[in-house]
Point group: C2
């Protein structure tokens, strides 16, 4: 690898550089294997001699150590092209959507992609202030679901305006999630870890749901709440 190539790979740890270049990088044998198995079309796969999967470039351990974002580099680093998905007109009126309203922890965002995949949701919409979809931590926490779930970054104020499908917020006060009606089409809005639902999202809500509490915790983790609501929707949808 040239010095410039190594510089480019290293620069992809930074969101601004990823967006300028339209590229992202992901490292680690398990996650890269999962994404390749899920059919993700990587542009380049750099592997050292220790990497047993498919590769486009064999590189030395020293080169990998210089390109890697990790203190202890993995034997593989894959580079993908960022595809900017956008919402089709009326798309959110069809099927089930999770909308993330400023969910900032990358582990939570990745875990939510994974559970959206498990529960067979149609898509995940991320407000622009969520953890960056193309960061290593989000992709890694998604456990390969990054390659399977349709994810769109869009401002929620515009995305949620004028929908026919119900827009349901998860909040500490709301209807009992156990009493949800069957919903073939709905948008479930998950607020941020720190401040809950934003004013921009709140103004588009049809209603809120809450998960009955028996104890003293002030709230639930964002991904945990999303999963419980999805399970309840899937349960009544049969």
């Amino acid at each position: 690898m040239t010095r410039a190539e190594i510089q480019l790979l290293r620069s992809l740890r930074d969101k601004r550089h990823r967006e300028e270049l339209g590229l992202f990088a992901v490292e680690g044998e398990k996650i890269v294997s999962e994404l390749i198995a899920a059919g993700h079309p990587f542009e380049k796969v750099y592997g050292t001699a220790a990497w047993t999967g498919p590769r486009t470039h064999e590189i030395g351990e020293q080169e990998m150590a210089r390109a890697s974002h990790f203190p202890t580099p993995s034997p593989v680093l894959a580079v993908g092209r960022i595809r900017r998905e956008s919402l089709a007109p009326g798309e959110l009126d069809r099927g089930l959507t999770l909308a993330l309203d400023g969910v900032q922890d990358p582990g939570n965002v990745g875990t939510i992609l994974r559970l959206a995949d498990w529960f067979g949701l149609d898509r995940v919409v991320l407000s622009p202030d969520c953890a960056n979809l193309h960061s290593q931590k989000v992709i890694q926490a998604s456990m390969g679901s990054f390659a399977r779930v349709r994810a769109i970054i869009a401002p929620l104020d515009a995305a949620l305006a004028g929908l026919g499908a119900p827009v349901i917020g998860c909040a500490l006060e709301g209807r009992d999630v156990h009493a949800l009606p069957p919903l073939a089409n709905a948008v479930i809005v998950i607020g941020s870890e720190g401040r809950g639902l934003s004013e921009e999202a709140r103004r588009h809500l049809s209603y809120c749901v809450t998960i009955p509490r028996r104890g003293a915790a002030e709230s639930l983790n964002a991904a945990v709440a999303a999963a419980v609501v999805c399970d309840n929707i899937r349960r009544v949808a049969g």
Copy 2:
């Protein structure tokens, strides 16, 4: 602070030192405030001038920087005594228990303490190979529930032997969690992120439950699965 005191505080980042000394440390304004509000009996609370909560010792920023486990120290560091809880005879036959079978991610263990608190479970049992209960990351992810949830570290092979209450594993194949009978007493076993349920736990299971899957994800995050099962148990228990 003396040099020896600073050394002692720094050493508490290490599990072995925590166990030798019977002490743990937790840092950060939000989490320390939550634990104090929940009535946790800290032995010492070291605060700089920037810390507005209760304290036993005021220290300078330089001292805090030397004692802290963080690259960017917080204005407060609290030290608590490790209380080794043990199971009373027959305890797991009464009420609802989450048993963690090698859950190794500290964020997952903390998130599970938090949801156990939310759903009003009676206790959480951790196998000795779980993430350490007294680590900063576990306590921080619990969001204060660390102070409220009864948590016992115990080998599951012994803890689960000869119970009258059903012992229910979460697995990819099992009965539909939506068809659970009402359960006033039960132990729910959550397997490790990497290898699922251990052989020692499996031999004590009454049956397994599974969360119906619609999509292609291979599994769910351990905390997410625990929450969905708890919600289903609470739902049918009324």
